[in-house]
Structures are given as structure tokens and as C-alpha cells.
Symmetry: D2
Subunit: 397 residues, 4 copies
Amino acid sequence: MSEKVGFVTMGQVEAAGEAPEIGVGMLGYAFMGKAHTNAYKTMPYMMYPPPAVPRLVAIAGRNEAAVAEAARRYGYEKYYTDWRDLVADPAIQVVDNGLPNNLHAEPSIAAAKAGKHIFCEKPLARTAQEAKQMLDAVNAAGVKHMVAFNYRFVPAIRLARDMVQGGELGEIYHFRAVYLQEWIMDPDFELVWRLQGDVAGSGALGDLGAHIIDLGRFIVGEPARVGGLLKTFITDRPGSNGQRQKVTVDDAFEAWVEFDNGAIGTLEATRFAKGRKNGMVFEVNGAKGSLRFNLERFNELEVHLPGNQPQAIQPGFTNVLVSEAYHPFWKHWWPHGHIIGWEHTFVHEVHHLLDAIVHNTDIAPYGATFEDGYKNNVIMDAITQASAEGKRVDVRY
Amino acid sequence: MSEKVGFVTMGQVEAAGEAPEIGVGMLGYAFMGKAHTNAYKTMPYMMYPPPAVPRLVAIAGRNEAAVAEAARRYGYEKYYTDWRDLVADPAIQVVDNGLPNNLHAEPSIAAAKAGKHIFCEKPLARTAQEAKQMLDAVNAAGVKHMVAFNYRFVPAIRLARDMVQGGELGEIYHFRAVYLQEWIMDPDFELVWRLQGDVAGSGALGDLGAHIIDLGRFIVGEPARVGGLLKTFITDRPGSNGQRQKVTVDDAFEAWVEFDNGAIGTLEATRFAKGRKNGMVFEVNGAKGSLRFNLERFNELEVHLPGNQPQAIQPGFTNVLVSEAYHPFWKHWWPHGHIIGWEHTFVHEVHHLLDAIVHNTDIAPYGATFEDGYKNNVIMDAITQASAEGKRVDVRY
Amino acid sequence: MSEKVGFVTMGQVEAAGEAPEIGVGMLGYAFMGKAHTNAYKTMPYMMYPPPAVPRLVAIAGRNEAAVAEAARRYGYEKYYTDWRDLVADPAIQVVDNGLPNNLHAEPSIAAAKAGKHIFCEKPLARTAQEAKQMLDAVNAAGVKHMVAFNYRFVPAIRLARDMVQGGELGEIYHFRAVYLQEWIMDPDFELVWRLQGDVAGSGALGDLGAHIIDLGRFIVGEPARVGGLLKTFITDRPGSNGQRQKVTVDDAFEAWVEFDNGAIGTLEATRFAKGRKNGMVFEVNGAKGSLRFNLERFNELEVHLPGNQPQAIQPGFTNVLVSEAYHPFWKHWWPHGHIIGWEHTFVHEVHHLLDAIVHNTDIAPYGATFEDGYKNNVIMDAITQASAEGKRVDVRY
Amino acid sequence: MSEKVGFVTMGQVEAAGEAPEIGVGMLGYAFMGKAHTNAYKTMPYMMYPPPAVPRLVAIAGRNEAAVAEAARRYGYEKYYTDWRDLVADPAIQVVDNGLPNNLHAEPSIAAAKAGKHIFCEKPLARTAQEAKQMLDAVNAAGVKHMVAFNYRFVPAIRLARDMVQGGELGEIYHFRAVYLQEWIMDPDFELVWRLQGDVAGSGALGDLGAHIIDLGRFIVGEPARVGGLLKTFITDRPGSNGQRQKVTVDDAFEAWVEFDNGAIGTLEATRFAKGRKNGMVFEVNGAKGSLRFNLERFNELEVHLPGNQPQAIQPGFTNVLVSEAYHPFWKHWWPHGHIIGWEHTFVHEVHHLLDAIVHNTDIAPYGATFEDGYKNNVIMDAITQASAEGKRVDVRY
């Protein structure tokens, strides 16, 4: 051959940038299993050089055929049909818990006791009490712990947080947020686990509301008190046995909130907003400016910051395509305007977790810890209590 | 001259279409005086043939120089510096009350006793109790009564109401509405009457919240119970004497609401939403479809009605420019796409009032009566009580 | 009565602010007759104090019943069925020509010879040659002359012009504009005058293209050369006799343009853009910023001016609601966010005309003179020639 | 362990679904190398089961340190510093050419002669003549050939094509498209290869215009004739030697186009549209409906299809979030509303290529073949000629 030829092996690639290998064990292979696994596989070459290279050691699930197929599909070395085996696997340093909510506590606590770092889907638990046990466990074990509040890793949302926390909006007066979906509006939609109170803990509140509550804390600060109501529009649905069974979670909730810093606002989540697919929308109003975000327009942040602008344009909101090299996370991606998608939040989040493990830095404040997860559950419990008792409830961690 | 020449007089124009003349007396010459007067002057030739031709008999205001100038500017035949004189004027059949809120009850009740029809600015009163007295007075007098909830006369909102009431959206699950402004955010903005509790009754609640509460009732139905909080961010401001004085109204309120028909939602109004000029935005979600409206995009209604559409486009919201000849009010205006503005709501509203007077038809349900105004005050009082007592409050008319 | 009562008469109102009365004669009572008349009636009290108070002396039209009705409806003192009589009426100082295009030249020239100021609908003429005769006539007569390029009087467009001409965008590289409508797409839509070449001169080019050509000149500067094509999609249509007749105008045109200052762009107008009601959209790109406007969102201007903004928001376009008191024309209207509509362009335009007459100031550069109208026709002729001959054509006035 | 444990190897994963392995050789490691490689790595588990599993055999580039790093980063087994060595590698079945435009022809022709399938970046060549040689070579070799017009693989664009070709819009009247960027507006931006005529062939025309020309052909049909102009705003720039050198490509072009089927429209591409990052926007107007797309809102398609809708909403455009399981490509991704990004076009495209190779199906019509690439070059040459000669030019393949 006329010029130099070089050979590299897969192993050499893994060693890129002196990055250590970290063994990952995945609990669950459905929606979140797919999203998280994609992140582990993509992060090392997209956010390059990576802090560590995830080694996909094992995936666990109860259906052997399905979990075996998932292992083949995604390239996990092994599969387990019992999560306990995965947690016990010495090659695994990070346990990623994408199981239903009722399986967040026990495996996570077991993993902590086994000295594994833990990345757990949200909501952290079904109740604040359950979450507290998980928090105590990870604190006792001294492992890294992160809750998958992945929207903290949307570039536009990180930018929003940085602007608010950096004081660019001045004193904050309002935070209003909704999370609107429509996927269970058919009264004959079956009673999946997300509609069963003993499994899910709550309905729209824990599934969707948890996200906007977390973003309120991430961007604005701690809530002080709340009022609100939960509602179930369709009270029975077909169960797995074909019989209609009672729905034991909320279909929607509405709440007002007052923050410690004096800001006030509304929170709402529903699965009965016809036409709204993934409609998480929030707005922050401060003394000097405002921000708006819509998850369905993931790459955009609307910013009103009249301060330095020419008078003619001071009244407006600027629609910022958050895709400049200087924007959060963007240096790892494409030329501006070549937008990224929902799945990439997990790529950023996994990077954050592995970086914290390798360099022993804090997950907080950019990542959500189990402490954030616990506080999230406290707030959800307060809204539930406010609804049940018809009164406002103070948030007490 | 080579062809026929015809002469008409102003008088003949007034007589157009056999329309009777109705004498109007205007209380107040500021913002609302200008908007209402423009409606009286424009309606007869734009919504042609008119049910009646308004005769601008008199305008009243306390500042003689100002009211005299207003009379000249707008073409009122007379001016008064005491509203009692205007109410007593026998040439006047309609008293239009655009005065501050503390001057809604007494002049309106006096006008009713004098047998005048009444068109009163919103909120109808400072409290439900005060509103009830006004309602009783007009009922006793048997005059026509309308509250200036002019947004009922936005073409897109009338269309929204007709769609919801016509069942096109099916059962309604959600109504969420905000009214966001920014005009008093400067802590040195003076303590105008709208910030004085004894004059205005309330702040953002009565000024802005009244509108979205009315639209909730107009579009969705009667509220059953509410929870919420009122907040004053800037607690003192410069008074007319230059000294800082206590602000005695709310700067913003947040509320949740449950309707009689089971729909739930949030209500919010604020004057502290930086960047938001006149941001009244609402959304309705029903079993079969959804609607969204933004007052700053007055001529548009976003509609999600997947029912009959090709599958490919079923997920979306259709942005409807409400300007076809078959849309509400539009036959009176321009070719489609030649949009109208905020002021035209009053043109439609005045047409509705005069039509009801001339043909002795009902103001309700399209116009807001004093009964609507009273119920509006009841709901505002309930929100205020919920805030004060930290509990949910049933709406009882 | 307890306080002072003042009486004013209609006559006193007319004399408001020492404003002189100017007699107006209107040619035509259809779409444009309605829009112009509304402007004459509204301007004196909305843009107060007015430079002059229009006196609606006479309206002319060939159908006596219709024109008599129009006179009654709008309050004209007289009607004529021959435009020559109106032009000869000594009480008339301004002739407003809202007739079809083939009746622009003769009445306007006659009016000029009679010493009347002239306000003529666009396009000024059917050809540049015809327009030149009109320009020569008004110049010889020394009267004021204005062509109804009313979009120059949209607040957002005036702001755009001021920003570009003030250098805020730096050197201009691009101007692209479309005017998209859909109203003749039905092949059985009849052959109205706007589809007859001998009456209209051209089709989409003269009706819609004239507007965007004017805005290109108003905002960016003089075109140097053009290329393009005209197209007629439906070549015959039902005539007034029920027989299908040949369509003798274009249904659409496409063009590229190069300006004297080096900017380049595209121009397009069509009546075959399904779903587009009144879709005039343009964008200007300069070295330092950009502007976008959409007539269906009349009150908004999108502005990209990164210069002084915080880095985070530099990439974006700011959606400016052009409704602040400091924005063009806005001090005459409402609080910000209370939007105005299409019809108000004429209110502003009539104010400009009467102001120029009373104070003997120039119509140009903010209003379009007959010279602007003539140049507009020259450019349209150049595009037509470019299409016919398949080559680029220099613009030579 | 308490339950079954399964072990899989990476090799077993590669064999998933009986998918064969296909060896890929990548030419170039910059922007397009990253995007294409990501697609090869992601496709097998996201679009599962894959038609084939790409084996990343080798990557080539002239800078050894850089190409070695790229190989490690992305997991290529080998690197080459001479493309000829990569083309000769027997383990490679697909040559992916992401080199600058002047290196499209020779390596692609060599690869064809070596019996490799070829995936070449766009524009296919610098001129139609060069493209024809490439087309002849792949035809002679009988290999699969695809040009990376990746926007054909945007879900919303595939949907647009299917709707238009399926007749849902009826006869097409208009296609207008722009591709607006801003990245070379600084006069001191250096003379990179994309600004050198001998390397790039053309500027905005070939880089951006090629895409919209391809989409015009993909969605609407073959162009019949064009007119237009090319323009270079900044005529010299700093070269690699620090001296200012002549810019030998266009900064922007404007064109009109008439299609064989009678549709007409405009085409424009520029790198001088301040504020526009990746602004590819097109609109199609047909007799029965219209479509609009904006690349910066990648997941949305605006559709006007009034046919079956309730009258009230017929006027509007429906903003469709193209993310339902039944939408093109979407079954491979996430729940609706969880949007994807620009990079995923390549994932779809690589799937299409490998599927065609494995099942010996046609690249056309959904993928762009070298024949499409050649025709694209013919049209670009016609626009260039039209500009140079100031006349319209027929498109002759």
C-alpha cells in the first residue's frame, strides 16, 4: 500500500483518552431501557473524550425471551431474569434502575448496600417515606446516586437555569408549568402499571408532575406551600383479566405553589389533554426578564431580556435556537441549527454521572440526587394531601 | 351635470335601514370611554344595517376641561361634570358606565331607577354583595343590562364557545387560563386607582382575572369550587401626595378550579409577567378535541379536532385564521386574512346591546348580564377567601 | 342640575383643534370605498387632534341604487353616478379614486386638471406609460398625489423601514417577499374585472406584486434588474354572459431581483396558494441583522439584531409586538398588546395625506407618490418583459 | 444465583436477527464523517432488527494523527492515509465518501471499479459532466449508489413527498424553497475549501441549493426551465497563507423555476442571511392543499388539507408533530412528542442503503441515486448558465 495503514482494535477505542471502563447493569428493557442504553452507547464518541467508557455488562428483566433479545439487540454481555443477580454481579459498578416505580426502592437499596452507584428512573419512589429510605441507603453506602430527571439535561433548560440562578432575570415572581399528554383518554385503554396505585404510587402527578416539580426546584428554588386537587376522570378500566377494575391513581392534578423566595405559580399535569403529545411547557417571570420553554420545541428557548436591547425590540421575546457552540452541551454536537432530540438528554445525563464517578465530583446541583428525588416526593405528597383535605399544605423536608 | 345627482343629509344616514336612534350617555372619557365611543361611532356603518343608530347625547367626567375636550373630540352633544345629571338626562336611553370600580354601583343603580339601559365596565362591582345590589336594581327596573366582558365578542372566542357548547369537543376535562401583563412592575409606579382596594376592590384578580373567569363560565360552565392564593409583590408605592403608601390589592393570583361538569383547571392573572403585554391565553381540552387562544394573536384560534381528518394530520392543532364570512361577526368586515383588532370587540358588543334593546331580546347568553357580573364577583370572592383561609371554597351564587 | 353642564354641537366637534375641513369625494363604494371611508370617519378622533377634518361631500358609482345606499350608510352628503360630476364638485378638494384599474388614469388626470388633490388606489396604472401620463398631470397641476400603498402605514413596516434606512441592519444583502392568496383557485370562479387584462392591466402581478415591489423600494431601495416569469394556470373562466372566456392576466408570477445597492432576492405573488388568505411575508437580511414580517400577524415584527444582546440570546429572532407608545403610529391607539387591524393602515394613510395638504409638506418618502406609482409600474413592466422574452431586464425609469 | 443467567457476546449481538455484516469504509472524518459514523453505530439497535450490521472496517484521511484519533474514537478497525488503500481493502463492501467535492469523482469511480457500493456526499460532483462520469461508472459496475441527500429521510419530508405523490394535494401549482445560513458573513472568515471553486464547484448553490433542488425533484417533479442569478458579496478573503485571495464561488443564488408538470416557484440559497442558522424552508401549494416545512422545526409539518374538515377550521394550516407510530420511520423511535434530531436522517438513510444492498432492491425513488445526483448537477449548471448569460435555460438531462 502506498501510504501508512494503522490498525486499531475495539479495545483500543475503549481506551480512548485514557478513559476507564465502568460496568453498567441495566434493570428493565422497555422504553427507558432503550433510552438509557442508547445513551451509554452513544456518549463515548459523541461527548469525546469521555470521562469513562460504559461497559454493558448485563441487563435484567423477568421475561427471559424478551430480556435475552434486548441483550442481543443492545450488546449487553449477559442478561438476568432476577434483578438480585444483576445487583450482585461484581463486574457492575453502576446499577441503572428503569423498572416500574414499585421496584425503585428495593433494588436501589440493595445496590447501594452492594456498593454500586445508582441511576434510578423518576419518580424516585411512590411516597416520600419510601424515598427517604432510599436516600438513607445511598448516603450510608457512600455511592453516587442520581435520579433520571433528564430534562435538567436539555440544553435550553440548563441555559434557563443558568440564567435564572445567575440573576439575569432578577427577582423571580412567577413559575408556571404544565405537562400535558393524551395517551390514556380512551376509557378502554387498559389498566397498565402506570394506572395502578400500588405499583406507580400516583398517576399524572408522579409520572409528569414529578418533572415539572423538579424543574421548579432546579430553576427557581424550594417550594414553601401548595394547594391543589387530584382528579380521576375515568374511574375504572379493563384490567389484565379483561374485567374492568378500579383506577387507583390520578388522571390529572392542578396546583398552585408559593416558593420560599416569594415566587408563585401553578403546576398542572394531565393525561387528558387531547392533542398534546408531550406538552411540557413552563414560563419564568422575573423582575428583569422572562423565559419560556416547550418540550415539543426542544431546541428553542424564548427569552425576554429587554435590558440592553434597542428600544424598538425591547417588548419582545427572542426565540433562541440553543445550538451555538457556547450553549450548554452543544460543543459535542453539530453546527448550529442542526437540531438534536429528546434522547440526547440521557447522553448528557450519563456523561454527568460517569464524570462524577470517575472524578468523585458532586452530582448536584446539575444532576438530581436522591435527595432531590426525596424532596420531589415530599412535594407530591403535599399536593396529594392538599387535595384530600381541601387546604394548603406546607412543604417540610 | 351629465348624470343623476343625489343628495343625502346626515340625518338621512342616521335613519338608514329604518334604524331608530338611541341616546347614549357615557360616564368616563379615559381608556374605556375612547374604546366604547369608537364602537358607537363605527358600528352603524360597519355592521350595516344597524339595529339602531347611537346618538351621542352626553359624556360625563369630573374634570371639566378634559370632559369638554372629550365631548368635542368624539362628537357628544353635551358634557356633564356630575354623573347624576347625565343619568337624569331624558334624551339618554343607555348609560354606559366606564368609571372606576367604586363608581359602578351607585350610578348604575341610579340609572336603573331612572329606567335607563345600562352597559357597565367590568368587574361589575368590588364585591359580590355590591354586585347583588346592582343586579337587584336592574331586575327591579326591567331595563337591559350588560357587563363589558368584551372578549365574548372576539370572533375566535365566540367560535370557541360555539364549538364547546355545540359538543364538538365532547366532554370537557380541562380549562386553563392566564392573563399576564407587566405594567406595574416598576416599584416606583404610582398608586393609581387600580391599586387602591377601596376603589378597585381587587387588583389583578378583578382587572384581569375577571375576564378569564367570565370566559371559563362562557365556554365551559359554572365553577363548583376553587382554591388559590393572592399575592402583593410590591407592598407600598408612591401615592398622589408623593409619599409611599400601602398597596391594598393583589399583584397576582393563582387558583385551581373545578367546574360543575367535572372539568378542572388553573386560573392565573398577574401584572408581574415581564414581557407579557396583554397575554390572555386559554386552552380547553375535551374528549374529542382541544382549543387554544392567545389574545395577542386575536384573529387566530388553534383547534385540534382529529375526528374527520386524514390520519397523517390527526395529531396536530390547526391554526385557524378566524376571518371567513361564515365565522362569527366576520361578514361585517373584510376579505379573509385582512385582520381586525382589539377595539372591534366593542363594536360587536354595542351592536348586541342595541339589538337587544330594539328587539327586546335577551342579552344572555352571548352578552354578559349583571347576573353574569354578579356570579363573576362571587367567584372572585371565593378565590379571595380561599387565599385568606388556606382552604378550598365552594362557589355558591 | 348640581354641576356644570356644557353643550357642544357636531359643528364644534368638527372644528376641534382648529382643524380645517377638507372636502372628500370618493370614487367607488366597494371594498376600497368601505376601507377608505372608514378611515376618513375614524381618523379625526383617533389620531387627535387631526390635521384636518374630512367632510364626506360625495361618493360616485355607476349603480344608482347602490351608490345612494352607500351614501346613506357612510354619511356622504351627495352621490353621483358619473365620476365627472364628482370631479367637478367645487366642495371637493380631495378625490379618492377606488375604481378599477382602467379608471385610474382618466379620472385622476381630470381631477388634477381640476386642481384636486388625489389619492389613488394601486396599482397606479395598467402600464408604465399610462402611469407616466398620470404623473405628468399631477406634476403639472401642482396638487398632492398619493397612491394607496397602504402597507407603508403598517406600524411594523414603518418600523422596518426606519430600521433599515437608519442603518441598523448594516449593508442589505437580501430582500425576499411573497404575497400569497387563494381566492380564484376554483376553475369556475368567474372572470371578474381583476382577471381581465384590459381592465386590470395584470393579475397577481399588479394586484399583489405591486405591494411587495413597493415595499422593496420603500425598505431596501431601487431595483436595478429583474428576471422572472408570469403564469396563468386556469386559462378560461365563466364570463358575465355565462360563456367561458379567455383569462388575459397572470395567475402568479415569480421573479428574482437585484437592487442598485447590491442586494438580491426573490419576488412572488400568486392567487393559487391554497390555504393562504392574505399571506404577504417578507424578510430582509443585512450585515448586522434581519427582519421578518407576515401580514397575517400584522402587529408583530421579527427582528434579529444580535449586536448588543447577551451572548446566550444572540442567535435568535425577537418577536416584537409593535404596540408601544414609542412605536410608529401607536400613540394614537391603545395600551400595548391591544392590537389593531388591517383597516387602520388607511387611517394612518389618510392622516398623512391630509397633513401634507394642510401643512404643504411632502407625501414622500413615507407616503407613496404618483412617482412611486409610476416606478412600480415600470418594474412590473420589466418583469412582464423578462417573462415574455426569457431574459433579464434592466429597470429604467 | 437464584434465577437464570444468560450470556451473550458482542458477536452474538452483531448476528441479531440473522443480519449479515457489511464492511464499511469511511472517507473523511470531519462533520460528515461524524454524522455518518454515528448512523452506522446507531442504526442496528434503533431500527431493529437491522437489514445488516455495519462493520466499521476502516476510515481514511490525510492527517495521520487526526485519522488515527477518529478511528479510536468511533471504533474503526483500521485507518488509512490514502483513500486508494481504503478502496482496495477487501473487507470493505461500502465506501462512504465524505470528502470535499473535488474528491467525489475519482474515489467513487475507483470504488465502483473495485465493486464497492458507494454512498457519496452531496453535491455529487462539481459539474454535470463530472457527475455523468460517476453515474456511468456505477452503472457499468452494477453496484448500489446513493447520494447523501439526507433530507429525504426526514420523517416530515417523507410524509410530504408521500402526500404530494399520492395526490392528496391535487395538481401542484407552486414549490418555493429557501436554504438560509449565515456562517461566512464576516469578511475575514477564511477561504475554506467550500469557498474555492476548484474544490467545491460552487458555493451556496452546491452546498445548500443542491438540497432544495433535490427536494423539488423528490416532492414535485422534474424542472423544465430556470432563470436566476448567482452573487458573491465578499469577493476576497484571507487564504491559508494569510493573504486575501479571490473568492471563486457564489455567496448566494436566486432562481425561478418551472416544472414539467406546470408548477412554478422560486429557489434561493445563501450564506448571508443574518440570524438564520439552518433555515431550509419550503412550501408546496396544490389545488387541494398545501404543505410547509422548516428544517429548524424538524419534527413538524404544516398541512393545509381543508377537504374533510369541519367548516370552522377549514381555513387553517395544521401543525403536525410527525411522531406517531404510523408516520414515516417513527416506529423505530420513541413515544409521540419525544422528538428526534437532524442526525437521525443519516440513521434512516444508512438503513435504506444496507437494506437495498442486502435485498437487492432499488435505492430509488426514496433514496437519491447517482442519477439523481447527476440531474441535480445539471440543474445547478443551468442556473449558473442562466445567471451568466442573463436568460432562461432549459433543463436537459
